[in-house]
Amino acid sequence: MNIEQQDFYTQAILSMSALVGLASFLMLGQGRLLRLIFVFAIQGLLLTLSTAVAAYSLHNPHLYISAGLTLVLKVLFIPWMLRRQVLAMAMHRDVEALQNKTLVMLGGAGLTVFSYYVLHPVVQTASTVMVNALAVSLSVVLLGMLLMISHRQAVAHVVGFMSIENGLFFAAIVATNGMPMVVELGVAFDVLVAAILFGIFFLHIRTSIDSLDVDRLNRLNEVDQ
């Protein structure tokens, strides 16, 4: 079936999922921290829009609250906090030399294919649209992990962590039109607390190893010294 024949909601969600997935790939190959944070904010904005579209099309007012929460948390608060940290550490001019950039990107593509494979059994119960959107959200989760593996800066790890949350949130919106309100509030609360804790941690890591390079957190291991 062609995409033009679908209703507005389906078209919107499909385009959104494509853009959300694209944003994840953009983050994956990004070596500059400020740009990474900017792309993350864009992904948050895309989520906010998707939620608002879902709220409007499905006449589900509680989704407006979720959209508002996303806007405040993921588009404004977390990027603002991370940006402030980067500027405070004067890391905004550094470019992180990513090792094996090509390999990481190929790996990302592989993970996307893998997500489609994993969610294949869901096809019987859902429209193709739903499967596409679910698979994209799973790949956003997996790409977030890949981002954490391939980057060394603690700030990039937090962005990866939060983009995993983005993927989960997107899955909840497209697959089930949002979780029950109480759960969504709980998740938002956890994300908020996690963001604040990350801020505290940056301070601690900085004072302890004088850098935010997590490769230098290597004192505890099972290797004989």
Binding site: F161, T176, V183, D190, L197, N218, L220
Partner: protein, 487 residues
Amino acid sequence: MIALYLLLLTPLVGIGYFAVTGHLDDTGKLNSAFNLVGFLVSVALAVKVLNIGTLYSSGQAFLVDSFNVYLIVLTAFVGLTTSIFSGPYMAHEKELGKLSERRLKLYYSMYQGFMLAMYLVLTTNNMGMMWVAMEGATLATVLLVSLYRTPESIEAAWKYFILCGVGIAQALFGTILLYYAAVQIGDSENALLWSVLYEHADQLNQDILNIAFVFMLIGYGTKIGLVPLHNWLPDAHSEGPTPMSAVLSGLLLNDALYAVVRNKMLVDGATQGNMAGQLMMGFGLLSFLVAALFLHRQKDIKRLFSYSSIEHMGVMTFAFGMGGPLATFAALLHMTVHSLTKSAIFVTVGHAAQLAGTQNVDKIRGLIRTQPSIGWGLLIGTVAIAGFPPFGVFTSEFLVLLATMHLYPWLAPLLLLGIGIAFAGLFKHIQPMVYGEIPEGQSPIHANLWPVIIHLALVLWLGLAIPGFLANWFSQATLLISGSAPL
């Protein structure tokens, strides 16, 4: 139902109270008082459930049945005894100048926060809230792991935060899939309530549930400390303050396993095959064997016992995965005795480390000669955790072995081998620590070993004869989980 709300309200008040008043001289005692209230309330709740069966709160937001009620009592009990230990211990750490009053304020406030998260995980009927509370438990404890602010402890806390955060995100994806499967058969308002899902489990789409369970097992499995997702656990246990190690090992791991078992019950209802169980068996056995081997090369006493925790969590996961009444009964018993023994051991280890001034296994020597109570406590605790009769761990491990020989005889040698390796690994390190010459300048410290004595006495009691009401309780829980009575 009042008891349930009181159970959740007590730690909530505790968080606020400690955050507002800050650290005073009697804060440690007050912390114990809050936990005592929690414990008494949990006992009242247990008696009620024992008499009238499963309880629901209005709107079914909370559920207390025979499975979780005994875990609630266990959580409250270990929380109480650990808090009794933690008061003087933390005061001593403050005297040594390791901690400031501000950090102690954080410590006590978050101790209550952790208790609240644990109670919420156990009592909630909503699978989404269970996730939220589980993540809340990570958030509450992450700053406690880095309480000493040493580079090592910050590294440990960062690892804990990132690994558990990312891990548990998988469980949320699993929960979303579960919700997705549930919305297709009924109203969306109650579709995440465990009791509703359980009732309609046979109508849920089994393919989706299978996928969902994989994500849940990975997610909550990270918190159980299943190999290969266990890397955070030894670090967090060894670098955080000792009372935290005791509650992490004794409570958090159990409650994460509880979450997995609740999900397994749903998946078992929906699917014909035993995919969920086999996955758990595989992960459990792998964790058990790998952790037993790792015991041999540990240099830090708290790392040593955290690997022992991974090993025992592996046994429980394996037994729950095997299913069947006998294995389930054994797993429930093992959860109880492991919690009691392991928290007792961590309490003794804390004292031993304060006595020797180090956590290094090679430097702790002559404990029995310096202070017999600590030395014997550690020795008896280790004997108990290694699975010697007449302690309760022996009983439960024996039952697991028995069930294995019934259902999967070819796995029994692996279990025996693992138990043997773990035993050798533990005693290789413990024996020179408790015996051996006293190093110069080592003198007895003020130690409160009542929690240890009570815990070990209970474990001994459970090993000799399980009291009737408790056996009845385990049987009811077994009936609920596996579908048939154990005896």
